[in-house]
Subunit: 406 residues, 2 copies
Amino acid sequence: MAVIVQKYGGTSVADVARIQNVARRVKAASDAGDQVAVVVSAMSGVTDQLVKWVREIAPHYDATEYDTVVATGEQVTVGLLALALQELGLKARSYLGWQVPVRTDAAHGKARIEGIDGGAIKALMASGVTPVIAGFQGIGPDGRVTTLGRGGSDTSAVALAAALNADRCDIYTDVDGVYTADPRIVAKARKLAKITYEEMLEMASQGAKVLQTRSVELGMKHRVPVQVLSSFNDLPGTLVVDEDVIVEQELVSGIAYNRDEAKITLIGVPDRPGIAASVFGPLADANVNVDMIVQNVSHDGRLTDMTFTVARPDLQRTMKTLDQAKNMLKFERILSDSNVAKISVIGVGMRSHAGVANTMFKALAEKGINIQVISTSEIKISVLIAEEYTELAVRALHSAYGLDND
Amino acid sequence: MAVIVQKYGGTSVADVARIQNVARRVKAASDAGDQVAVVVSAMSGVTDQLVKWVREIAPHYDATEYDTVVATGEQVTVGLLALALQELGLKARSYLGWQVPVRTDAAHGKARIEGIDGGAIKALMASGVTPVIAGFQGIGPDGRVTTLGRGGSDTSAVALAAALNADRCDIYTDVDGVYTADPRIVAKARKLAKITYEEMLEMASQGAKVLQTRSVELGMKHRVPVQVLSSFNDLPGTLVVDEDVIVEQELVSGIAYNRDEAKITLIGVPDRPGIAASVFGPLADANVNVDMIVQNVSHDGRLTDMTFTVARPDLQRTMKTLDQAKNMLKFERILSDSNVAKISVIGVGMRSHAGVANTMFKALAEKGINIQVISTSEIKISVLIAEEYTELAVRALHSAYGLDND
């Protein structure tokens, strides 16, 4: 008998019929002998409506009141799902964040879970009751309702699974797993049976937004196996696990892309110690997250060029910040380009294999795609290319690394 | 500087613009030097939608989960109104039932307030903050969300006013006060400046549903002056107060009617001690509320007829219950009639004046209206008539007691 946390996203509970569908899934698992705790999001569209009302009334809203309003979405679904489970003959009861309690820090609107007291819920499950827990919400040190930020229900589910020492956390969503590449771009993409936490983190941060990053980090920290699967079919999903659980590790697990980047180049920057800090310090202060950074050796030992990328919505703020710091930085010119995409090859297998990067460069060269910037980590190689080549590059790499489905 | 509780109903907070309108009203009172606590209902229509979802999933729903779902309506409005007040420059914060806390009994779906700890809110108001409290909800002894039943926000507001020892509780609604009769029927109806708690109770239970009965009882018990007024204009409303506050008491304050009654007559009931108990005992067990009861002296000392009224939705249940008890009750026949209306003349002044009833009987007789049943209390005379005469009777009585507006 396994202890399982099941999490259902907004599209899985979008209306009464779908909530009843979720209830049947929970009952099936329960009938099969598992102890199931369920975490749910708001019905899809509901959170957007609530946020819209908040913004109409207060464009620069008090995040505490925002949380009070927005947390109602999940409160509705836990009650409705508990009722649907009861209709199927299960004993079920709902829990709000403050009732569990799910303790968070005070960062309203984007709170972090500090601890979950799983004791009461564990005892309840052992007595044959199915708890239905509101995702996305908790209670802050001020005794008020907090929310975890968009996608936070994944994090709620994994944190609960850790608190319950669950055997697995199943995240039901509108995709049925993690693919070797975006199936909308690569027709031959394959669903992965397993993927490591580290790879999943790189996939997520590269734009393959299947799981919230924080939930993967939590799963990794507490070694909770996390399964991504669909609530609309009965196919097996993708299991996100520790590296040592995967017996036959592929060299490369997937190809990711991100069109949400903008490239900035500072031309004629003095080539002296501390210049990087003086560029990126002001950006950090302006809350701009810098991604790839490239600085070449200068030809003459005097001036160099520096290129880096930021999220596209941050571009304007970045340019303004650098312009204000121009006197101090003493660069000659500044260039920006939103017309770029980042393509990444991800796989823990590349740690122990040489030549992985070269396969990438060769495959892109064969298609005539120019590489603007390169950045590597232990399990990832990313390049920046012109955005129009995105699909071509992803498909070429998918073939080059032997990921194509036959 | 007065301490005022303002309560706004669903139509007053139906959308963003109306919530902003409410915020301006609160600010005006605050600017005028009053300390204001605000109690709000759900945006109109929201509660109905939530109830609909609950019923679709579980026709015989668990009231605990119902409460969890339905209480979200008020949670949304408190957050939005707190934000709207902040936008106007007020310090404001929302309170949910469990945060105040508003302690109730465990009767989910129709809970009664057992106590409100007003300390924190009082301190907050003294420090210049405007608290916005979710009406209709509380926390039960089980630590779960409770709701007070439909119209419960009025009760929340008056109970809070009592807990805060407030100078007045203003109930903003979609009518602008209490009238001598329903203005839809009597064009010459006048708005009452003042009315006693007792009269208001009789008016409310007679179908003039301006205030929830329980809220009037609470106001009477704690001597909280309750004002009924409109949030859509600036006219003075009707003040519900203790009898001794009203200097010039009218003989009759108003004419009420109720079309929600059904009449039942048991013919040939044995005229022996205990027969009433044996009729009404089973009805009480079946949760049927009996209103008017008439039993005449029997002609022969052996058999008598017994007439009483119940709420129309309870008629079927009543007939079934009596039918099942027929062997024990030994009545000859049973008759029922839904085609009746109860007309009431209400006024604390009639306590000390004779002839009030006779004016009623004479006025009805002049219009050729037959009286089927009569029932009286200290401050009320009610008669049952054929439903089709309702408007005629109300207008005739309004004139007969000199209530017509000139």
